[in-house]
């Protein structure tokens, strides 16, 4: 079994971190193969930023596939750019706070979460990616939520002050994701 995920959004929305947390957690907790592949343009900032995570029981070929099983979209331009890569039956996770376009496909599962708003509500715009991570993990259970949180905790260990906020954000996301699954 191989899962191909693409996470896409604005630079600054933490899409790379989201992908890295997930991939890292997989590495730490399973003996699955996992790759994380960031996609950079020439620009240091602006435009869309995206990354690919592949999780597999077999060896992984390309760390970026042509066809995605899962797609996390954090802004409008990314939706347009990547929606075509999502396989039929694939899962689409949307930051519904700012992605307002109608989704033209009816052959995919759609999970919406207003993560920008939720993050602002929680008092820090930056945690939107951790909320979305929660949503994704809650919905897919591709890796156990505790493991993922453990990884986040570990990566943030140098900034312990940020932990409670991030924990809350992650849990909020988990909740949304789990709810959507049912």
């Amino acid at each position: 079994m191989e899962t191909n995920l693409c996470v896409a959004g604005f630079g600054g929305q933490g899409v790379m971190t989201l992908g890295k947390f997930l991939a890292s957690a997989t590495c730490d907790s399973t003996d699955k193969n996992v790759t994380f592949f960031p996609s950079y343009g020439a620009e240091q900032r602006g435009g869309t930023a995206n990354c690919y995570v592949v999780i597999s029981d077999e060896m992984i070929g390309a760390p970026l596939g042509d066809v995605m099983d899962d797609l996390i979209v954090m802004n409008g331009p990314s939706l347009n750019k990547f929606i075509g890569t999502l396989k039929s039956g694939g899962r689409l996770f949307i930051n519904s706070s700012i992605v307002k376009d109608k989704i033209e496909r009816d052959d995919v599962e759609i999970v919406e979460a207003p993560v920008t708003e939720l993050a602002l509500e929680m008092g820090n715009a930056k945690v939107l990616n951790v909320i979305m991570l929660g949503v994704y993990v809650g919905y897919t259970e591709v890796v156990a939520p505790e493991i993922v949180w453990g990884t986040v905790e570990h990566k943030l260990s140098s900034k312990p002050k940020l932990l409670p906020l991030n924990k809350a954000a992650f849990d909020k996301g988990l909740e949304i994701g789990r709810a959507a699954r049912k």
Binding site: G41, A42, Q44, R45, G46
Partner: protein, 247 residues
């Protein structure tokens, strides 16, 4: 009827938005160059030789002739262009890594020969495009991705002063250091660029305009904090003013 007092120069492609980071003064400088060549009416006989660095983000943003030189070699490429085709106005546009690290020999040798073109040198104290590595102009106390403890005199030596060093050579005609940190300095930068182009048109020889700018992204500061840092630190190390003007 409303009269348009100020808008983006026509030397920038109408439908494009630049790829520079928020607050990056590369964007200001390339805008100013465009304004100057537009006002001087020379846009149809001007061509840019872009270095490699964030300056390259303008190649499909500007609207007139340009080429990209191999990293550091803009002054050599411009030498070839200008000597082969003296009627066109050529300028190079280079960052500090491009001009003062890998391209130091090309820059100094062209200056020493007194080549008749203009160098626009954007000094932001860091490697922008590649992500914040140490530049020859990096200040003490400024962290770089290849100098985790910042510049250390024993290891990296001291920030390099390009204008002052070139001032040791006989041939250069006009060496000036400006900034874009406020409206007044923006205007001065524009005037300096204009003057440099006038020197070239008059066949006088080598001119260089060093513009001290910020790189908010790689300084790890937001635009306004970077502006403060620029004023408090960069301008101290790199004082503005005319270093040489052969008139």
């Amino acid at each position: 009827m409303a009269e348009l007092l100020y808008s983006r120069t026509k030397t920038i492609q109408e439908d494009k938005v630049s790829g520079f980071c928020p607050g990056c003064m590369h964007s200001t400088v390339m805008k100013l160059i465009g304004e100057v060549i537009d006002e001087m009416g020379i846009v149809d006989k001007t061509a840019a030789v872009l270095g490699i660095g964030c300056c390259g983000l303008q190649m499909d943003y500007m609207a007139y002739d340009n080429t990209t030189a191999p990293h550091g070699r803009a002054c050599a490429v411009a030498t070839g262009l200008k000597r082969a085709n003296p009627d066109t106005i050529y300028y190079t546009y280079q960052g500090d890594g491009d001009l003062a690290s890998i391209g130091l020999a090309e820059t100094m040798s062209a200056a020493n020969r007194g080549e008749n073109f203009t160098v626009i040198f954007v000094n932001n104290g860091i490697y922008g495009m590649t992500g914040g590595q140490l530049a020859p102009t990096t200040l003490f106390g400024m962290k770089a991705s290849t100098a985790p403890k910042g510049r250390i005199a024993e290891e990296h030596g001291y920030p390099m002063h390009v204008c002052e060093t070139l001032n040791q050579l006989t041939a250069p005609q006009y060496l000036v250091r400006t900034s874009c940190n406020n409206p007044g300095n923006v205007l001065k930068t524009k005037q300096a660029i204009k003057k440099a182009f006038e020197y070239q048109i008059a066949g006088k020889g080598f001119s260089l305009v060093e513009i001290v700018t910020s790189c908010p992204t790689n300084w790890g500061l937001d635009s306004l904090k970077a502006l403060d840092f620029l004023e408090e630190n960069m301008l101290k190390e790199y004082p503005l003013g005319v270093i040489r003007d052969r008139g």
